[in-house]
Amino acid sequence: MCAYGQAGCPLPTLADLFERVMQQSSRMHGISSDLQSQPDHYLFPSRNMLRKWKCHTHNILTPGDKQNAKSLDREQLTEVIVRLLGAWGDPLSQLHQSMRQDQNRNKNRERFSHFSSNKVLEMSDVMQELRDGVLKMAEKMKLQGVLSNAVVPVQPERALHSSTFAFYKRGGLRSLDRNDLLYCLRRDSDKVKNYLRILQCTTLPGLDC
């Protein structure tokens, strides 16, 4: 997509950008569902640790219901989206590295096959692309006056999650940690997809949401 107005390349409209972003977020969510080793059971057997269990992105305030989500304006919503997407860059790469190390060690107990490590890498790339796309879309919205000139963070918040992967460690690299990480990943991708949908339906007038 040539959003920079290169010669001979038609500029995409905002609707086109949104469409592309939505496709990307659907893809992202699909990968996260694949990575989830457990099926989509809504009733997880309770684990005592889950009560104290948090995602590493818990400090990013995200609207948890419709009223809160609607109360946010577009700039804030966009910011939340970008932050969420940026927060997963490092953890995914670290997860990928740790999985490859396990493969190299050729552990038989390794639950994640080669297939999963590639999926993690793919997920990382998709999220990065999506983040870039959302930023471009925000610029477009700014140009069209839809978005105010609020500052949207460009740099991913690396300082906050320097050792993100360690966040999930509970005294060792166990499969349970990875499950928690993947669970958080799936949830955050769902949040991003939902926020983008809200942004799309409230920004584009002619869309039949």
């Binding site: 809504y42 997880f44 057997p45 309770s46 419709k66 769902d190 939902n194 949908r197 942004l199």
Partner: protein
């Protein structure tokens, strides 16, 4: 004292409960939790045994990463054994840890805790306002189905994204035809079946959740679109008729060749020689044509060129039989055609000179027992056919090759003079009478008033005609006899002596090299055209 009273009371309770079988309640189980719009949700549980005592149930939940435990705010809205979480108490993307506890007088029992994230338990209500309408697209009808999302699901703000699915079936069918409509609220069905009542249902599902129930059935009756099918039949019928016409025309054009292929014509019998029956009964035109073209049988008008392709059959009639047949009819018939003498002569026209049993074969190796007083010399090997003026019969013409025959021939056939009253038998005929060959003679000259000299042609039996005798079968009739007789004149070409070298063939002659299809030479005319014959 009070303690003693309490202890006694407890003992009594235990004793009575044991006596009646009462027990603490059984373990309840959480069966399901559902959210219709991702804003509220309800959980249901299944109670265990109540232990015979009134049991109360309580639901407790805790939110993720919080140590607080809350009790269910609403036990009634969701029905019995349910807990309803309203909007204020519902948080999305948060893990709920829910437990149900059953309590009765004797004790309580906790269910197994479950974790619930509301975003994964969304099951919307069925779509609403399903409407059907029949529309036309360029003359072709189709069904348009439209619907609205369930009332509570907020899709307009994008909070929920629903995908839809519809199904349709005819009234008499059992199988549904399912179509996926995606996120749109409109769907066109083009695979209509004409006539009948059709039922349509729609359902929906969020991105990650459960399918709703099918909506209530909407009905619509399709009109009969027979005319659309009829036009197709008309086209098919027209094409078939055209093909049929083309095939019929082709068959008609090639009918002849087809007929020849399927039903080859049976060759009719072609008899060589002169048809005596024709002389008796035939018409004058036929006789003349027969005389003119003696080689060919009378052609009927129906004959076509195919007859030429058919080989002629040689029909041999035993002479005695024929003679007898002829004799029986000769006495009354008035025609003056050629007749063979019953006893003494035979119509051995076309036969080899050595074949005729009436011949006196001198050089054919037979004794000259019948040399008559005519004293025919050897060189004079004329064959004299006596014409009986008064009679009606002609002696048969004998064939005898003249000296013109090739001397290389082993057999030298001679002309033999024969008389009508001579009964010549040819016992030593080298060929049996049964084997007749067809031969013809040529009339050379008329010796006397009633004597015709015939030049015999040799037949196939070893006496091939001179090669010079190629053409011409026509003879000139000199005059008509007194009594229905014909005198044939054979014109002698110049340079021939005795008229031996006749260059003409008799009308009754046929040889292998004697072609009859050529035009007559000058001086020779078709006998049919010379004089009219008296009608018979």
């Amino acid at each position: 004292m009070r303690n003693v009273l309490e202890l006694t009371w407890l003992l009594l309770l235990v004793v009575t409960s044991h006596a009646k079988g009462l027990s603490p309640p059984g373990k309840p189980t959480l069966t399901s939790c559902r959210s219709p719009e991702k804003e509220t949700f309800t959980c249901w549980w299944q109670p265990g045994s109540d232990g015979g005592l009134p049991t109360t149930y309580a639901l407790y939940y805790g939110k993720e990463s919080s140590d607080f435990v809350y009790e269910c705010p609403d036990y009634f809205t969701g029905g019995e054994n349910s807990c309803f979480f309203n909007k204020n108490n519902t948080s999305i993307w948060v893990n709920y840890n829910i437990t149900v506890v059953a309590t009765n007088r004797l004790g309580s029992n906790f269910s197994d805790p479950v974790d619930v994230d509301v975003v994964y338990i969304v099951q919307p209500n069925p779509p609403e306002n399903v409407s059907l309408s029949i529309m036309e697209d360029k003359g072709w009808p189709f069904l348009r189905v439209t619907w609205a999302p369930p009332r509570k699901a907020d899709t307009r703000s994008g909070w929920i994204t629903l995908i839809y699915e519809l199904r349709i079936r005819s009234e008499g069918e059992n199988e549904w035809e399912t179509h996926v409509a995606g996120q749109q609220k409109l769907f066109n069905i083009f695979s209509l079946r004409s006539g009948g009542l059709n039922l349509v249902q729609v359902r929906c599902k969020p991105d990650h959740g459960f399918w709703s129930e099918w909506s209530s059935t909407s009905q619509i009756r399709f009109p009969d679109y027979f005319h659309r099918e009829k036009s197709a039949w008309i086209v098919i019928t027209a094409v078939c008729a055209l093909i049929f016409l083309i095939i019929t025309w082709l068959l008609h054009m090639n009918s002849r060749s087809l007929k020849h292929c399927l039903l080859p014509p049976v060759p009719g019998p072609k008899i060589k020689g002169f048809d005596q029956q024709l002389l008796k009964k035939g018409k004058s035109e036929d006789i003349f044509s027969a005389l003119a073209m003696s080689e060919f049988p009378p052609m009927s008008s129906s004959s076509n060129r195919d007859d030429l392709l058919v080989e002629y059959l040689e029909v041999h009639i035993p002479e005695e039989l024929e003679a007898m047949l002829e004799a029986s009819k000769d006495l009354d018939s008035a025609d003056g055609g050629f007749k063979s003498e019953s006893s003494t002569s035979d119509s051995d026209s076309g036969r080899g000179s050595c074949d005729s049993r009436t011949l006196l074969m001198e050089k054919c190796g037979r004794p000259k027992e019948h040399e008559d007083s005519t004293g025919e010399a050897e060189p004079e090997d004329w064959e004299v056919a006596r014409v009986d003026a008064g009679g009606r019969t002609w002696p048969s013409v004998f064939t005898g090759p003249s000296h013109l025959l090739r001397p290389s021939e082993g057999q030298v056939c001679k002309q033999i003079k024969a008389r009508s009253d001579v009964n010549i038998s040819a016992p030593g005929h080298k060929q049996s009478p049964a084997r007749w060959s067809v031969e013809y003679v040529g009339v050379q000259t008329v010796v006397e008033d009633d004597v015709v000299l015939l030049q015999p042609w040799s037949g196939r039996d070893g006496c091939p005609p001179p090669p010079t005798f190629h053409e011409r079968d026509y003879s000139q009739v000199k005059r008509v006899g007194s009594d229905d007789t014909l005198l044939l004149l054979q014109k002698l070409p110049a340079g021939t002596a005795d008229g031996r070298e006749g260059r003409s063939c008799d009308t009754s002659q046929k040889s292998a090299t004697c072609m009859h299809s050529t035009a007559p030479m000058s001086g020779y005319i078709d006998t049919a055209a010379v004089f009219p014959m008296a009608t018979y």
